[in-house]
Amino acid sequence: MNVSDDARDATLDDVTGAITAMAERVFASLDTIASALSSLWNGLEDKGVRATSEDLAVLRDVVIAELQHQSRLLNGAGVVIDEDRLADCPRYLEWWRPDEERGVSQKLNLDLNPQSEYFYDYSTMAWFAGPRDQGTRWIHGPYLDFTCADLNVCTFALPVASQDGVFLGIAGADAPVARIDAELLPKFQASRRLMALVNAEGRIIVANHADHVAGSKIKAHNGTRRARAVPGTPWTLVTLD
């Protein structure tokens, strides 16, 4: 490896560092939301009370504070509760979205009726099933979430467990691809390299090459392309030049 290769790798390090930092910021917010849920849950358990959906209403302020904190990146966040954990309803989510027009956050309400054609069965969705089954944090997408955000988004999720280690649900947040792009594209450009940020399935999240735009697919390990894993994410940064 010669000096110029070293310099090129250093540039890639800067970019992967920026991507990791962005993801860590989101997960830090999710940590805050997850802690609020688990301490609320543990408090009720200690009193011998089974939680209801109404008990979760107090999470609103925590979620909205994090949304304000991350307003440039996130367009929704909250908790999604595992089936049959609450005393009063089988499925429940406390998810908030900032409404820029009205200046207040709106609670998201989805079709949670299993009889319905458009039943939002989150128990089968990767961003919920992944953290539930593997106990790890998760980034799903980009995907077109047409029953929810109606945008191409990445969903970040963190599993939440009770003090006895029972899975309660996830703390999650949606980052629209356009906002991830707004944050990362300037850094890609500053690197003076052509590159694409790609998810584990080969779908592009951000790129600075007009032939490779968000939503399209690319083979990460193709011939001479240099690719490196982005720490803390399931993503890969691929060079295109």
Binding site: L108, N109, L110, D111, N113, Q115, S116, E117, Y118, Y120, A126, P142, L144, F146, T147, C148, A149, D150, L151, N152, E201, G202, R203, G215, S216, K217
Partner: protein
């Protein structure tokens, strides 16, 4: 719950979003609500939001909404209970849907039908190409599941819903929010017409076609995906136009 559930569906909720432009507002409201019933965005027995809320959601006066609800009652798609626990409830019986859709088909001219078909040809063909180009493993699995589900539906209302759901999901796999919205709007117009008993669609045969398209998409065969989607939309429109012509003679 009804208000909340409607509020949760955005691209789909476009079916119940504010109407734009002038024209026959009552007719437009009737069309939107019956489309929402047809697609399964609102389901049988479900209560509609209060008149004030629904009028706000659709961006029309409560007067216009009341007129529309009266039409829907007449068509048997909505019934209203008075007093405590009262309100307007959805009744999506196969018979009421069929009667309403047959009337709707007769309102459309052959030329209008052809034009809706032209738009669907472009949207479905384009969505299929992009789905083949951009889809990932989880998408292919979802498409197969939805295609198989159509084969196992047991009445025309549910077949119509499963069929439109499949076609919307192909658009979702294209990763294009605009194409998806266009497909939702087209399904809102076409789905109940396609599943008129007089059209005579066979759910097993159609599910097999959807599976074939799913396989083309999964094997990233853009040309085959386009061809299959275009052929299906063209054949669909041919059937509808044939029925429309037949009705003109009766």
């Amino acid at each position: 719950m009804a208000v909340e559930q409607l509020g949760g569906l955005t691209a789909l909720g476009a079916v119940l979003s504010p109407l734009d432009g002038a024209g026959l507002r009552t007719d437009a409201v009737v069309a939107r609500i019956s489309a929402a019933i047809g697609l399964g965005v609102i389901t049988d027995g479900e209560q509609l939001p209060s008149e004030i809320d629904l009028a706000n959601q659709l961006g029309v006066s409560t007067m216009t909404l009341r007129e529309a609800l009266a039409v829907l009652r007449e068509q048997g798609l909505v019934h209203t209970k008075r007093g405590r626990g009262g309100g307007s409830f959805i009744r999506s019986s196969a018979e009421a849907v069929n009667t309403r859709s047959l009337a709707r088909l007769q309102q459309l001219s052959v030329e209008e039908l052809r034009d809706i078909g032209d738009e669907h040809f472009a949207v479905a063909g384009g969505a299929a190409v992009l789905a083949a180009r951009r889809g990932v493993a989880a998408d292919f699995e979802r498409l197969r599941t939805l295609a198989q589900r159509l084969a196992h539906t047991d009445d025309l209302v549910h077949s119509a819903r499963a069929d439109s759901r499949y076609q919307i999901e192909v658009a979702v796999c294209s990763q294009s929010a605009r194409l998806t919205r266009a497909e939702v709007n087209l399904q809102a117009e076409l789905s109940a017409l396609m599943w008129l008993s007089q059209v005579g669609l066979d759910r097993k045969e159609r599910a097999a076609r959807h599976l074939e398209l799913s396989e083309a998409i999964a094997s990233e065969d853009e040309l085959a995906a386009r061809r299959l989607a275009e052929e299906r939309t063209a054949a669909d429109m041919r059937r509808l136009i044939a029925l429309r012509m037949e009705l003109a003679g009766s």
